[in-house]
Amino acid sequence: MNPPRDTAGPVTLLVATRKGAWLYHADAERRTWQVDGPHFLGHVISHLVLDPRDGRTLLAAAKTGHLGPTIFRSTDFGRNWAEATRPPAFAKAEDGRGRSVDHTFWLTPGHASEPGVWYAGTSPQGLFRSEDGGVSWAPCSAINDDPQYRKWMGTVQDGTPDGPKLHSILIDPRDPAHMYMAMSGGGVHESFDAGRSFAPLIDGLKVVEGFDVNDATFHDPHCIRLCPANPDRLYQQNHCGLFRLDRPATRWRHIGGGMPADVGDIGFPMVVHPRDPDAAWVFPMDGTSVWPRTSPGGRPAVFVTRDGGERWQRQDAGLPAEQAWWTVKRQAMTADSQPSVGLYFGTTSGELWASTDEGAHWCCIARHLPDIYAVEVAEPAAR
């Protein structure tokens, strides 16, 4: 999330896909978009993120179907790229049975007061930190090697179809040492010492029926967002619904009850408003029976709340009215921080959709891309 702004500025969408990355540069009205790409054609790009502290450094989490993972860096907003010298990698185990990073899934720039600091979440679940702008990465042993955390992570067999993931690394804008992260599976966790230790934050959340709600193993947070306008407020899209947490409370509150029964409150993305902590958006998917993971009924829609989750309103103007069976992954929906907030999402069928009026109207700005894994907004002050 970029810092909130009062005046309009340049907007670029950073689109990460299963076959490469694209940048879409908006005109001043965000009506036309100039495409720049593909970058890394053929690479699986899980996340492409701008460093808001300098407005020009981009990091891309990459791998291919047959080569190991790496991180690519650009210090000139994507004109030139160089590979990290030491990508995220687990500590080597003496017995040779240690874990290996399959791919870096999530990238988060560090606190504004710590230029050069980045965090990465991987599959299988691992947390990594860089202090040199993403050139070299060190494992956070409090998560990666802790026996309790390893137990909560489970095995690759316990994870999602593309592998278990550590994601939603959130830094408190008021305190660089205060952070959150989430694991699918393995629950939500909080640190007050810059990641040297963590503790679960799962009270009030639901798990699949029949499992122990007190065991982090069975918790599956899909996406967590912290409100820029109120860093004490967190929203969560979870395997079992929508939740909100207002610190210093430690008990999550279910806020999905206001969603229509025929849509439900299962999904992956969670988007918060840059200036209004009561406003948030979700993109529900079909989580019934065998989990088709399509738009419910083939009718895609965004849902918005303006009152912290008490009520949800459908926003589908411009979206296909029927027979559209795509969905949106957890990193593939985001908001800008323009005076009239823009919303953007990428679909599993390679379409990129935009709204410049907070979701009231939607238009498709790109088609025929590969399966979209992540969409981020870059709003550099100057390039």
């Binding site: 179907g65 047959h66 080569l67 190991g68 790496t70 590979e83 500590a91 080597k92 240690g98 290996s100």
Partner: protein, 85 residues
Amino acid sequence: MKVLIPGALRSYTDSAQAEADGATLAEVVTALDLQYPGIAFRMVDEQGRIRRHIRFFVDGQPVHDLGRPADPQGELVIVQALSGG
């Protein structure tokens, strides 16, 4: 020893062929990485295991143990299996 590089890794070497030496195949891979930084981690994971879709052949024979002695006169062929659609 002579090392034949698969197409997917030629962004590192700019060539289909390289030279690297060491007492073992692991040392050959390390020597290759010194010449072409980053290439080793794309083939061998942090636990020293050859990645799932990478195969090493020495003088025509498949090799799974990177601790095997390396012959300076031998030839290492690195093959990458394509996966996914």
